[in-house]
């Protein structure tokens, strides 16, 4: 009996399966047909990007709200800027939060943010805060909010301290290491005592990681501020959608500053550069960033969008590990290699002209950049004679370490490395390329295991100190240095591993240290100018390029100000 039952039900099952397949097949067909048909007739659905031809109704979707769609390469699953060092997080939190001091949109100069007045005198920073600014939760912004924010970030004795494994390295890096004490006088006066005279401090206050949380929100949500982001910025958080990798923001009507001019903003993640560009071309996105050379050319070809570019605040370089390779200890060898590498060709051919040749560690739009310095000219003959002078006329060999993935300052690392190898081959130097993926690569080079390596830097605060001190100062005690040598071992106590060249030039170090403690701007400019001349002549790096910032912007967007630091300034944007 039972076997018969099984038999029957098995037949039924098979029959049903076959039937279902057919039914679903039909349904699928008719479903497709339906949607195709209505698509043709119904133009209102332009937001879908269906009607690439009909870009005008992109945002309407039937109702009146204006929606600005910002496309980028990665999602930002957290919106707590104290728990991340990611630039993707900053893009969103810049909309939701404010800093005490801001960067002028599109410039590297400072302007007022939540503070209407600010100054740095010796070790004391004084700030006067704006009155009448409100958070998205309705609370009024006062000096106490900044104190609570600061303590949540770096003060382990604070009740709402977010925890050692929660806060990011920006805690000590931007605030913690420099602030000795914060004094509050009334609701709107802040006096910050620093641990030492530190000229870049005000710029640190303009960084995204120094934005201000609401004290009430900190006390209410603790470490849960990501999905409950409460700021004073032009937009408030609507939905953080990890599943679709989108962040939706809504205009904050009581914003104290300029704008916002759109009702809603959505950050959309499209990982592939070319797909992201296509989405701009088909009207599905309004602004896109993270463009490489190829996708930039793609954007350039669209009728409904344009490529916007500006000088970036970054540097791409090849660092000599002076401690590891004896030949590099002779500066003539470093100069010879600088002359032998055809950076002009690299920038124009490999980077497609979306970068400019570098001459020194400081990019052009940073205070203290020395305009009198030119990039090392491509001159194999001079390179050869410098090598001979140094006693290495027969050449030598070294290992060039490189990461594999494109970075803004080096969009084709492997190709660049190959060019370097072939250029140096012409003067008898044999280069072996060692390529690695980025994360282990950083570790490898931070331990000083490379002979030479590619790297680059995007600035945090656009201060010259953020390049000159961070990347080329060894930061070790005097006792670690050897008289007559301009380098130090990676193993030295407290060595700053961000200095991948092991360079320890006393003249340079003195200049940079003094500049760090000089608050007078023109004096700083002079000091950095001198330091740059030393860095140029001594050539601890081969200065490769300053990469441009590139954005694709749809024609229906107006008021967009491209910015190399901070931003995007979406509060200034309107849609036509």
């Amino acid at each position: 009996m039972s076997s018969r039952d099984t038999n029957v039900s098995r037949r039924k099952f098979l029959g049903a399966a076959g039937g279902a397949a057919v039914t679903v097949g039909l349904a699928g067909c008719s479903g497709n047909g339906d949607s195709d048909g209505s698509d043709g007739s119904d133009g209102s659905d332009g937001s879908d990007g269906s009607d690439g031809s009909d870009g005008s109704d992109g945002s309407d979707g039937g109702d009146e709200t204006s929606l600005l769609r910002y496309g980028r390469g990665s999602h930002s699953p957290t919106l707590d800027f104290q728990n991340s060092t990611s630039g993707e997080v900053a893009k969103v939190t810049e909309q939701i939060y404010d800093t005490l001091i801001n960067f002028e949109p599109g410039e590297s100069t400072l302007t007022d943010g939540l503070a209407s007045d600010y100054s740095l005198d010796g070790q004391t920073a004084s700030l006067t805060l704006k009155e009448g600014v409100t958070f998205h939760n309705g609370e009024e912004f006062t000096a106490q909010d900044f104190v609570a924010t600061y303590r949540r970030f770096v003060d382990s004795e604070y009740e709402y301290y977010a925890g050692d494994d929660y806060v990011s390295a920006y805690g000590p890096f931007t605030l913690g290491s420099w602030i000795d004490e914060i004094q509050v006088d009334g609701d709107y006066e802040l006096t910050i005592q620093l641990t030492q005279t530190y000229a870049p401090f005000l710029r640190n206050l303009a960084m995204f990681a120094a934005a201000v949380h609401s004290e009430a929100a900190i006390e209410e949500y603790g470490t849960d501020l990501s999905e409950n982001a409460v700021g004073t910025g032009p937009f408030e958080l609507d939905t953080l959608d990890d599943s679709n990798e989108q962040v939706r923001l809504a205009a904050y009507d009581d914003y104290w500053g300029e704008g916002p001019n759109v009702d809603e903003v959505v950050f959309v993640t499209v990982g592939e550069n070319s797909t992201r560009a296509q989405s701009l071309g088909s009207g599905e996105l309004d602004i896109i960033d993270g463009l490489g050379a190829q996708s930039s050319q793609q954007v350039d070809g669209y009728d409904n969008a344009e490529l916007v570019r500006t000088e970036g605040i970054n540097i791409g370089y090849m660092a000599f590990n002076i401690a590891a390779v004896e030949e590099f200890q002779d500066r003539r060898v470093r100069q010879a290699i600088s002359h032998a590498i055809n950076t002009e060709a690299i920038v124009n051919e490999i980077y497609s002209g979306f970068a400019t040749e570098a001459s020194q560690p400081l990019p052009p739009n940073v205070l203290g950049h020395n305009d009198d310095l030119d990039p090392y000219e491509y001159d194999p003959e001079q390179a050869q004679s410098l090598l001979e002078e140094a006693g290495y006329g027969d050449g030598f060999s070294f290992e060039l370490a490189t990461f594999q993935n494109p970075r803004g300052y080096n969009p084709s690392p492997i190709q660049t490395a190959e060019t370097v190898a072939s250029n140096l081959g012409e003067i008898g130097i044999d280069v072996e390329i060692n390529q690695q993926s980025f994360s282990p690569y950083l570790e490898y080079t931070a331990q000083g295991r490379h002979d030479a390596c590619f790297l680059g830097w995007y600035t945090d605060n656009a201060d010259p100190d953020n390049f000159a001190y961070v990347l080329l100062h060894p930061q070790v005690e005097e006792s670690e240095l050897t008289e007559g040598e301009d380098w130090v071992s990676f193993d030295a106590e407290g060595y700053n591993t961000s200095n991948r060249s092991a360079w320890a030039n006393r003249e340079y170090m003195d200049l940079v240290e003094e500049a760090q403690q000089t608050t007078d701007e023109s004096d700083r400019v002079d000091l950095y100018n001198d330091a740059m001349e030393v860095a140029h002549d001594e050539a601890p790096w081969v200065y490769m390029d300053y990469a441009e910032e590139l954005r694709g912007v749809a024609n229906r967007v107006s008021g967009f100000q491209i910015a190399a630091i901070s931003g995007p300034y979406l509060n200034l944007v309107s849609l036509e």
Binding site: G62, R69, D241
Partner: protein, 339 residues
């Protein structure tokens, strides 16, 4: 009759398989270069900060202690907290967000493969060695050979750029806030549940190209399998009997042939599902659909170990589970399998 013992036995077999996968993932990650503490801390961190994180994560413990801890946690479906991608969020939560995205894509791909693969296979078998048969074979081989990273962008170019009738990327138009109506995490289903036809239409239109791209491969495999299985069945005695008793060709093929030929195809469909999950990695990347595949690639790139472990184990679990379902279905269709 539900084959309880059989299912139970197969379920128990899952345990050693998963332990094996867990061990493999753990070893690979711990043998590969890169310091997770450094990854978390970022380029700007001081040495002291990195040390503190290393201690917090238990990375200073002996490797076997870490391994035992890891297995213990995995047994409770606890993969720890994400290091980088979604810091201080449990991997489980991250997976809950991304898994439905991939499942939806894989399901539609599978549906596409079945709906087109089976009829094409039957057609080829019935019209063996005719032009139709050859055409389907060439089609199937092409389907298998064309890589997704090539066919994907090309289809986008054609349908979204040149013809302008389909969207380029994503799961649904960014105009719509699907997170607000989230139930299953699968957009086509959630929009249906919400009863919003505009949104549903947008979701379907977004899913068309990715499903096509990912489904072509399984369609090709299924149709080849269906063809050979069908040919085999056609030669069986009962088929001859059916024909001998004067039954029409259509009924013979569909009623007697098709049903029996379906059995081995079910196995292929199951195995294919694993392939679909793999194909999802590429498809998601090309179409900017942020599922578990994208997550895995990103996690490997940035060194987010817990996410890598969680994702790979989930993949393994799903794959073995699907195979189990296939085996059960199979034994149900053909009771001899159980013995």
């Amino acid at each position: 009759m539900f084959p309880k013992r059989f299912v139970l036995k197969r379920l128990l077999l899952l345990v050693p398989v998963l332990i094996g996968v867990a061990t493999l993932v753990f070893s690979i990650l711990h043998l590969s270069p890169g310091d997770p503490a450094l990854t978390i801390a970022g380029e700007r961190a001081s040495q002291e900060f990195v040390e503190r994180i290393r201690a917090d994560l238990g990375l200073n413990d002996p490797i076997w202690v870490q391994y035992i801890d890891f297995l213990g946690n995995v047994a409770q479906f606890d993969f720890g907290e994400s290091y980088v991608i979604n810091r201080n969020t449990s991997v489980r939560e991250v997976l809950a967000d991304t898994l439905p995205v991939t499942l939806e894509l894989a399901l539609y791909g599978q549906l596409f493969g079945i709906l087109f693969g089976i009829p094409l296979g039957v057609l080829s078998a019935v019209k063996q060695d005719t032009i139709t048969d050859h055409a389907t074979r060439v089609g199937a081989l092409t389907g298998i050979s064309v890589p997704i990273f090539w066919s994907g962008p090309l289809l986008i170019l054609l349908f979204a750029q040149v013809l302008g009738i389909l969207p380029t990327s994503g799961r649904i138009s960014s105009t719509y806030n699907v997170a607000a109506i989230r139930v299953t995490g699968m957009v086509t289903i959630d929009t249906l549940i919400a009863g919003d036809w505009e949104m549903f239409r947008s979701a379907v239109r977004h899913m068309l190209l990715p499903s096509l791209v990912i489904g072509v491969y399984s369609m090709a495999l299924i149709s080849r399998m269906m063809r050979s299985s069908m040919l085999e069945v056609v030669r069986q005695d009962y088929m001859r009997t059916a024909r001998a008793k004067g039954q029409g060709a259509k009924i013979t093929v569909l009623k007697h042939g098709f049903r029996n030929a379906l059995i081995p195809v079910v196995t292929i469909i199951g195995i294919q599902f694993g392939g679909l999950l793999g194909g999802a990695v590429l498809t998601e990347t090309v179409f900017a659909i942020g599922g578990i595949g994208t997550l895995l690639v990103e996690a490997i790139e940035v060194g987010d170990y817990p996410i890598v472990q969680g994702t790979v184990l989930t993949f393994a679990f799903l794959f073995t589970l699907v195979n189990l379902v296939v085996d059960v279905t199979y034994s149900y269709l053909d009771p001899r399998i159980q013995q």
